[in-house]
Subunit: 251 residues, 4 copies
């Protein structure tokens, strides 16, 4: 089944276009999306993995594209406001209909994430290149399979609590930072028929998406979020007749 998975890595692509920070081109020559896609290809060699950016027509997120996407990964930071509301509604509808969604790092403030979660998704942050340790707290979860605990990330932006999210379905990873802050860095949600995974490690200044353990987590997340056999339709109101199920066929 993995051979048929259709994965779309979306990145606003603005840091790359602006060459900010100045080492981003050296660190991520194919962009952040390119690095993420590369990591996924190493773990999911038979999957169909493509990328799209904000500057593409329809941000690369047309109805046709989404209908052919099993899992969408989302990276954004400084251009959240430029994502069109109609596109956000479209992605929202596809998630409720069963498309998987991985929201990464600064995507916590993306329109699609706050739309799905209903909270501010605010947090504490400080960019001073601290060491981040990512500890597994739910080892039975498929996303934790084969992942070392802790993952040691030598330098990272700090993300700290309070992370204003709803109680997640599953809390898989908790991070600590050298300054003492903690963060629920790997959490899952379901909305409608769709599965959502948020994972915070990853930034435009540090080569986190080259980290072997981070790449493993993202590949696990994609496998977990994918439901290629589900009919893509969001739950909708129904007005069934009494005893309607008596006539339904039971296989």
């Amino acid at each position: 089944m993995n051979g048929e998975l259709r994965i779309l890595v979306w990145n606003e692509g603005v840091h790359e276009a602006n060459n900010e920070p100045s080492h981003i081109g050296e660190m991520y020559p194919g962009g952040i999306h390119g690095a993420i896609a590369g990591g996924l290809r190493s773990h999911l060699p038979e999957a169909d993995i493509t990328t799209a950016v904000l500057a593409d027509a329809d941000h690369g997120l047309s109805e046709e594209v989404l209908a052919e996407t099993d899992v969408l990964l989302w990276w954004g930071h400084i251009a959240h406001a430029e994502v069109g509301d109609a596109v956000v509604e479209r992605v929202h509808r596809h998630v409720l209909g069963g498309m998987g969604l991985l929201v990464l790092h600064s995507g916590h403030f993306s329109k699609i994430f706050t739309r799905l979660l209903g909270t501010s998704c605010s947090l504490a942050w400080r960019n001073d290149g601290q060491r981040e340790l990512v500890w597994t707290v739910k080892p039975s979860h498929p996303i934790a399979a084969g992942v070392e605990s802790p993952i040691v990330i030598p330098e990272q932006e700090m993300y700290g609590e309070l992370f204003d999210i709803p109680d997640p379905d599953d809390l898989i990873f908790i991070s600590s930072f050298a300054g003492g802050e903690v963060f629920r860095s790997g959490v899952t949600f379901t909305r409608g028929k769709g599965r959502i995974f948020y994972f915070s490690p990853g930034d435009q200044e540090y080569p986190v998406y080259h980290h072997p353990q981070v790449r493993r987590v993202l590949a696990n997340g994609v496998r977990w979020a994918a439901q290629p056999d589900v009919v893509r339709s969001a739950p909708a109101v129904t007005n069934p007749a009494r005893d309607w199920f008596d006539g339904a066929k039971q296989h």
Copy 2:
């Protein structure tokens, strides 16, 4: 503390204004909001309980009013679309800041509820006056305190699964209907600093808000959702200095 609780019962008030159904005036002479407020007064005699409707200026939900409200109850049905988006954003902000919210029955499709939950909040329904049984499944929850299980409601509109909501923090009540459908009829959520309780029994055609057990549940819900001592401010992004907490006073 209950003596100081400030409770606002909001009702769109359109069924009453239109006299639809024709027996609504006899059943609820003070409107649905009046019946709900009356039930709360019997359980919370020292609370400050007021009502508001859609037709009021600002729908009766100005910044000043919300700032003085510990718990807001919300009943709406046929006029969800007429609720102003600015008012919805205002209520949303107050919930994230710690105001309690009880969403009732057809309020599942209100703008504020779908905004807070992020899903379609759709469900199955059929209005054929069936018996509803409301079973307690989490007896340790404060909202279940003193509530009989099952609550027997002789005639009700059927609400059935799939109820498209996120996994609730707590599932307290599950209903069955004479036709065989089931419904998660009493569920809690937290969003930001706010506590939310959804309770489905209650309709414009049946005298459900006169039911002693339903009134008890709503009073319990108000007590549970109220946080009068919390500073009303939604979580917000912060950028603290390293070791900022070393200088903070510890009481």
Copy 3:
């Protein structure tokens, strides 16, 4: 991977040995375990599926057998007390170490289930052959994949709330019965590294394990609970040196 799954269906086998009820032999000629195993084979043709009963040496649950088992299914009813405590401790250890466990119907009162959950696992019951409807409330869960909602089971023993279990990780199915009772009939838990699924439909008097939808649920449950790649060791206390992870290899 499914081709390598090693599944063990355990049944106390006492109803069959006693020929109680008298039609059990006609209904389940290979015993309840035989019927369950047959259903699993139709969905998981490459899996290695075996059965064991209480009367076997060590109840068929020796250390060697459990070490080679990815998922254990448990059916018991009138002989819970005859299951040896040492066997229960052994199964408990293997579940914490990552073995999947499916507990079926009257297994709610088995020693292993109450040991893992810590509650009484009591419920309401009435054996009057009522229709059971099994409604899906978490369609995104792998165990609900392809399952019709509701499953219609023409005749069943009633199991009703209050079902005294801890809050499950996931609530997937809720049943209603013709008498109006409801039951959380499909719930998951994790304990240690192990995944547990409880599913209530199934009884010694009714041919429930021949129902195509029930068989699908059990096969889904087995797939979900299996972790064949996990090292089988229960979490244990550790006393690591400070900075121990600096020397650990990161792949």
Copy 4:
């Protein structure tokens, strides 16, 4: 209602009897239980607060005592094995029946906690007097009311993940330690009708139970866990007649 709360602080009392560590008498002249009780009295001046130790007859936990206890606090460390199994079963039954339970620090390995949770409750530990920071991650929970985030504890034993517990009902606090480890340090569970709160800060070597914020957390925990109006009976199996509820009185 708080004026009538009946609170029992239990401590094995072995460190105190053995004078290990040698400064325990100076740090906790009334024992660990005395310090905890003192903190509770400052927050709950009208409550009836008593203490008991392992060496008492019946460990001070007779049926009569438990029947008159709304909330039991449990501190144990080196003498878990000496707690009688009959006493553990008695406490277990009272928790299922609605008695509140606060389990503290090294009580994670107590018989009553592992009995209620069903897991190993193992963790990582290192006693090198590190700074612990306790961060609030669910500010809407009553136990977090008025608590500073983070609580700064200058010196503590390190407790780290993996903490082998079931998914808690609510995750309220996460701690980090100077060495980089994290720990789910404040978690709630419900079992039967009873509410359980585990809080890890506190040790026989450090004066943690004198910390004003820790004392506030424990007082909040007691208020939250208390259900003085609940009839003390554990859930039990029932076999109701069909339509039994038609004859039940609805208030």
